[in-house]
Symmetry: none
Subunit: 211 residues, 4 copies
């Protein structure tokens, strides 16, 4: 048997058809949203045939889901690692905000589409997505928010944080970073943007007495 580099379906450019399709789908879904994205457009961008898409993905819906999951996986892993790490809670939270920010710089559009499609992370809603498919999104989402929530809950227990509901705080964090990326407020320096959000989040906007 031949090595990976000459596996079937590996193109001259070294990307498999499957990857070409995912890359094209990323662009089209991000730009158009789920409904307005057409398989035809994805196919044209992927430089492949329509049937090929359906060889790799059972339907448009699954293509979208797998795209989101594959794009999110590295981020999810990094997030889990930080959440489980040894640092104190504020440090973890700053790291997490940096991770989120960097992730959303690339994936804000895709995520916004996903969140729209699942319509409120679990509520019965407006997308065509099969309920069982929506549940998968919800689970992925809950796992991510859950990591953040855990860090905040730890911080509350250890006296580093106070006066907030950890779940609400976690969702707030996510929504603010998502908004930042989405509005283009992150700009060229994600690190700086992350710091700004972290400061606001940790200390609020009220001026503190210097003394």
């Amino acid at each position: 048997m031949r090595g990976v580099l000459s596996d079937p379906a590996v193109c001259a450019e070294g990307r498999t058809k499957r990857q070409q399709i995912l890359d094209a789908a990323y662009q089209v879904f991000s730009r158009k949203g789920f409904h307005r994205a057409t398989v035809d457009e994805i196919v044209a961008l992927a430089d492949t045939g329509k049937g090929t898409v359906y060889n790799y993905f059972v339907n448009k819906e699954r293509l979208f889901y797998i795209l989101v999951r594959e794009r999110s996986a590295p981020f999810e892993a990094a997030l889990a690692e930080v959440a489980a790490g040894p640092e104190d809670s504020p440090t973890k939270l700053r790291k997490i905000i940096r991770l989120f920010t960097k992730f959303f710089v690339d994936n804000a559009d895709l995520w916004r589409v996903m969140i729209h499609e699942m319509r409120g992370v679990g509520a019965e809603g407006h997308s065509k997505l099969a309920p069982q498919q929506r549940e998968k999104y919800r689970e992925d989402m809950v796992r991510i928010v859950g990591d953040v929530e855990k860090v905040i809950r730890d911080g509350l227990a250890k006296g580093a944080f106070a006066g907030c509901d950890p779940k609400i705080a976690a969702y707030s964090l996510l929504s603010v970073v998502l908004m930042m990326a989405f509005q283009g407020f992150v700009g060229d320096d994600p690190e700086a943007a992350a710091e700004r959000v972290a400061d606001m989040f940790l200390h609020g906007i009220t001026k503190r007495d210097p003394g």
Copy 2:
């Protein structure tokens, strides 16, 4: 001007056909989103004919826009009044958060759909909306966020707030309240929920020294 009772197309129930359509559209758009909402369903709910919709609104897109605008108008007015009011900045901000929260309890779904359709408040995007239509949404949005931004900028100038970009802070506020409503975190007591957000927003989640 003639009285309501002699207005054209005022029905027995005292609602004009136009209003019946808007009410039905609100329900359907909120529940289904823009794309999955069908004119047929709106018409069925409005207890009117399909053609009638097109007598009052040039197309589905404009119907949606006008719906959003009419629903937002009272809120916008109240917001502007508070923003222009005499109170100090933190008080204003708390009031604003309360207004937002109450508004979104009813309109979170509609707004989320709108924001999705305009895709990022101005960025070139995924909806079918004509660019000029999107620009209208953007203007409405900017006006609303602008009021909040002004209050924060005032607070910064007067030394009540510190260490934040007023525009980012304003958008953050909006995104957090929207998320709260959307996730069902507001519950039965919007006032309490608003206070929680205000506290988090003004003071952050870091534990302050009691001394």
Copy 3:
């Protein structure tokens, strides 16, 4: 309200859109069978728009079913009338064979398609038809065959017939007449063809002693 002649959807030619579609569907289904018949072709023949078909019929499957049912209804009624009539069994059977023959001269193709789609009158089968739809066909079929069966059973009880299973005989009758029509054996004189079948059916092909 206006009379039937000026009802909406009544065309200049006096046929409703619905009827135009059914007429076109009859031709196309008869000529092409269910699968190879395309809605496009039906629409072209019916001189109407594609959407119009779906205003009147929920889908291609239901269009086919309703077509078969409406085409069969008068025949079914006549059959039931004869079956319930006062004549003796052989006379009834001859009348029934005449009815079948005349009916199949026009509808053999449609019926063959239907029988193929229901694949064996009830067995689990090869068509795409929803099981519940197939059950409807089966019921219609059983009702028709049942009328014939009853006549034969009566004849057996009254000593006019002998030596046959009434159900099998009924199905045999149907299959032979269907075959005759299908093979073009009926020709210009359905009455004569019916007599030929009736003779064969009543007396067999064995030569009887003249004495």
Copy 4:
């Protein structure tokens, strides 16, 4: 000719790839009909590759035709033998009915599909089959029915039968046996079923005077 064991593509189980495909095709075509049968399913059942099918058969249509022909060949031979045999006509006819019945117990589904595809044994029709392909089916069919027809014609000439058109009688016979098999009326005892059909066919259903 080489022995079976050294034939190309003879598998461990002793069936050639070609035969595996035919066996699988028999099952799938019988169960699903021509259109709904997919090459994919046949391939899966045959435990072979998709391309292999096209090495042995030019296309799905020819695969179906060859399948029908190979399945029918032994039956055709036996039928011809009986038809050409020395017995008297009624005996031959009874034998033929037995042959038909036994054959259709296994092949009724396949035949019904074939007859549907050729749509009326020669009439211009609804399948995608090339006209020249349909002509082949017609020839096979005519040959089979022709044998039966000859036996009946002989019987008429020799005074054993009377009062029937031999062609119509032959087709009737075929259609009744096919129907019996298809409706599951044959049951566990094909011999008995054949006798029942033969009796009905030879003597009709009219009660004869015992005297």
